[in-house]
């Protein structure tokens, strides 16, 4: 009924879709995202592309060098295929870094919105609680969590979640406070907007940019942290393939067969770097000074 009378049909052009279009039009970012997609594909398709079972000894000898017969990256200290273990390790590393960061970001945005918009005592109370979390060193926290739940994937993820929460919340709160002072928020209030509508449709879309940038950069850091916790034996337990645990296993033969350590180590560094670069690129794209 409206299609005939409307001179300008509602074209589905929200600011969100426009932002997406802008981001996907940026070549450096698209290249980085393609790299990420490849990594995710490797993780998802691990059973298909892996040449061997990562948990079984398939080589004749342990610590065989790179380029050995049938084993592209050689074997580890228990004669397992290093390539297979590296491929399967992608799964753990991505999950253990991304899931808690996404979860922490979601909760942080909610808390940050509330604290930043309400201000005053609500803000002070929420921030005081989070300051307590700030005081936890991550390794100590992981040991404490492991003491309750035992070492494992979940332990690492819970630890990362708890540690990230206050950091991301600070960013979300600051961003919210800045947006809340803009005239368009006051304008919405003067027009009679209820608080919920102001938060969801006026504050949230305008405060989320810096938070996403920060969280993306943190994913890279968390891959390193998770590997470190696995290295210490707080994460996934042998024989599961995990980059951090692989580095730990290889450290015993570092002198004679450095590749057993270097291959998973390089994956940790490259993946962390990838997320950092994506975060940096997003920061540049969200920067209002570089035009919209």
């Amino acid at each position: 009924m409206t299609a005939a009378t409307n001179p300008a049909p509602l074209r589905p052009k929200s600011a969100l879709s426009e932002t997406m279009a802008r981001l996907l039009g940026d070549k450096p970012l698209v290249r980085l995202l393609i790299c990420l997609a490849v990594l995710v594909l490797v993780a998802v398709l691990a059973p298909v592309i892996s040449p061997h079972d990562p948990l079984k000894a398939v080589a004749d000898l342990s610590n065989m060098p790179i380029g050995s017969d049938g084993l592209l990256l050689g074997s580890d200290n228990q004669a397992r295929d290093l390539l297979a273990r590296t491929i399967y390790g992608t799964r753990i590393s991505l999950v253990v870094a991304i899931v808690p960061t996404v979860a922490a970001t979601t909760l942080s945005v909610a808390i940050g919105l509330l604290a930043g918009y309400a201000g005053g005592r609500v803000d002070a109370a929420l921030m005081a609680v989070l300051d307590v979390f700030f005081a936890f060193p991550i390794v100590l926290l992981a040991i404490a969590v492991a003491g309750v739940m035992g070492p494992g994937l979940l332990t690492i993820m819970v630890s990362i979640f708890v540690v990230l929460l206050p950091y991301i919340t600070r960013v979300a709160r600051t961003s919210t406070m800045q947006v809340t002072q803009r005239t368009y928020v006051e304008a919405a209030r003067s027009a009679g907007a209820p608080a919920g509508a102001i938060l969801v449709r006026y504050v949230l879309p305008n405060m989320i940019g810096p938070v996403l940038v920060y969280a993306t950069t943190l994913i890279g850091l968390m891959i390193v942290v998770a590997s470190g916790l696995s290295f210490l034996g707080l994460g996934v337990q042998p024989p599961t393939a995990d980059w951090g645990a692989m580095v730990a296993e290889g450290s015993g033969v570092l002198r004679g067969s450095p590749h057993v350590t270097f291959v998973p180590g390089a994956m940790i560094v490259l993946t962390a770097l990838l997320f950092n670069l994506i975060g940096d690129r997003l920061r540049d794209l969200f920067d209002p000074r570089k035009g919209s």
């Binding site: 300008a8 509602l10 006051e186 304008a187 919405a188 027009a191 907007a193 449709r201 006026y202 879309p205």
Partner: protein
């Protein structure tokens, strides 16, 4: 004359300002001080004064975007200050505001058409389709096209965005419109277009407008009556013609004499033009706030704030030395 739309009585806003370090006591700053006036149905009431005189604070107090410290806001006889937050939110369907910064007052992440129809949505009026139709209609009232509906604020000019700001306020048919320096940020040519639009709107909507501006010529053009504020106090309230042809308060006369003139023979009006700066609002004189810059000042001016007396019909002046 029928009852005024809004009666402002003894409206006062005190900010507690902390100077220097956090351990010092706060000092009261009277941003708006015992201000009383009426806005009549269908009139444009101008508010003029130098920066820092409390003009913008006054507009925000009326909408209770800032909480008044003291006083009454009788809107159609009902005191807005006695409403709960939710009642006040609903009451805002009768009173809307247009802001100074046309680009900054629109949500950068929202299509301007949506920003306009949102006002109806806040108050639960109409369906999505009806609101859309109404937004298109009001777009044409303010001189924009339907094709502007889907634009984002950064894709529009300042003048266009201010039209959107006006459309957003008008779509709900408010009885009172507060325009806070609504044309000050615009180029002179665009300013003229918006002022012309304002005149059309007055005729079409029969709306009362509180027109806050530091620009005397703009106020002269649009207003029926004018309030002159100085450091939070009302100095003079008068019909616009009377005020601009024969202001009585020495401050108003100084303000008018300080206007730049293109006629070189009229340029030197030293005896009336304002000299010096405003005193700090934190350490106001005990009596009349204008005493430090007033040529007529005597002892009583230092001691006692002059009463607001009606010197002529509809003409209120607060000065000891004006008859």
């Amino acid at each position: 004359m029928s009852e005024p739309l809004l009666q402002v009585r003894d409206l006062t806003k005190v900010f507690n300002v902390r100077r220097g370090n956090a351990f010092l006591k706060t000092q009261p700053l009277y941003a708006v001080n015992n201000v009383s006036f009426d806005i009549r149905a269908g009139e444009v009431l101008g508010v003029v004064g130098e920066s820092g005189c409390g003009k913008s604070t006054l507009g925000r107090l009326i909408l209770r975007l800032l909480e008044p410290t003291k006083g009454q806001l009788l809107f159609e006889g009902r005191d807005l200050r006695e409403l709960t937050a939710e009642q006040m939110r609903r009451a805002r369907s009768d009173m809307q505001m247009v802001f100074q910064d046309p680009n900054g007052s629109l949500n950068p992440a929202m299509q301007v058409g949506r920003s306009i129809s949102e006002t109806l949505r806040f108050h639960g009026i109409g369906t999505e389709a009806e609101r859309y139709e109404k937004a298109l209609k009001i777009l044409s009232v303010v001189g924009l096209q339907a094709s502007h509906y889907n634009r984002l604020p950064h894709e529009m000019s300042g003048g266009q965005n201010q039209r959107v700001g006006i459309a957003r306020a008008l779509i709900i048919n408010p009885k009172l419109l507060i325009m806070d320096e609504a044309v000050s940020a615009l180029d002179v040519s665009v300013q003229a277009q918006i002022l012309k639009l304002l005149e059309e709107i007055r005729e079409e909507f029969h709306i009362s407008i509180l027109f806050i501006s530091h620009d005397l010529s703009v106020v002269n053009r649009v207003s029926d009556r004018v309030i002159v504020l100085y450091l939070g106090r009302v100095m003079e309230i008068a019909p616009v013609k009377a005020l601009f042809s024969g202001a009585r308060h020495p401050y108003t006369r100084g303000l008018l004499a300080s206007r730049p003139s293109i006629d070189p023979t009229k340029r030197v009006k030293t005896e009336a033009a304002l000299q010096g700066d405003l005193p700090s609002p934190l350490s106001l004189p005990k009596g009349c706030p204008f005493v430090t810059r007033c040529a007529l000042a005597t002892d009583i001016c230092w001691q006692q704030m002059p009463e607001h007396r009606e010197r002529a019909p509809d003409w209120i002046v607060a000065c000891h030395h004006v008859d």
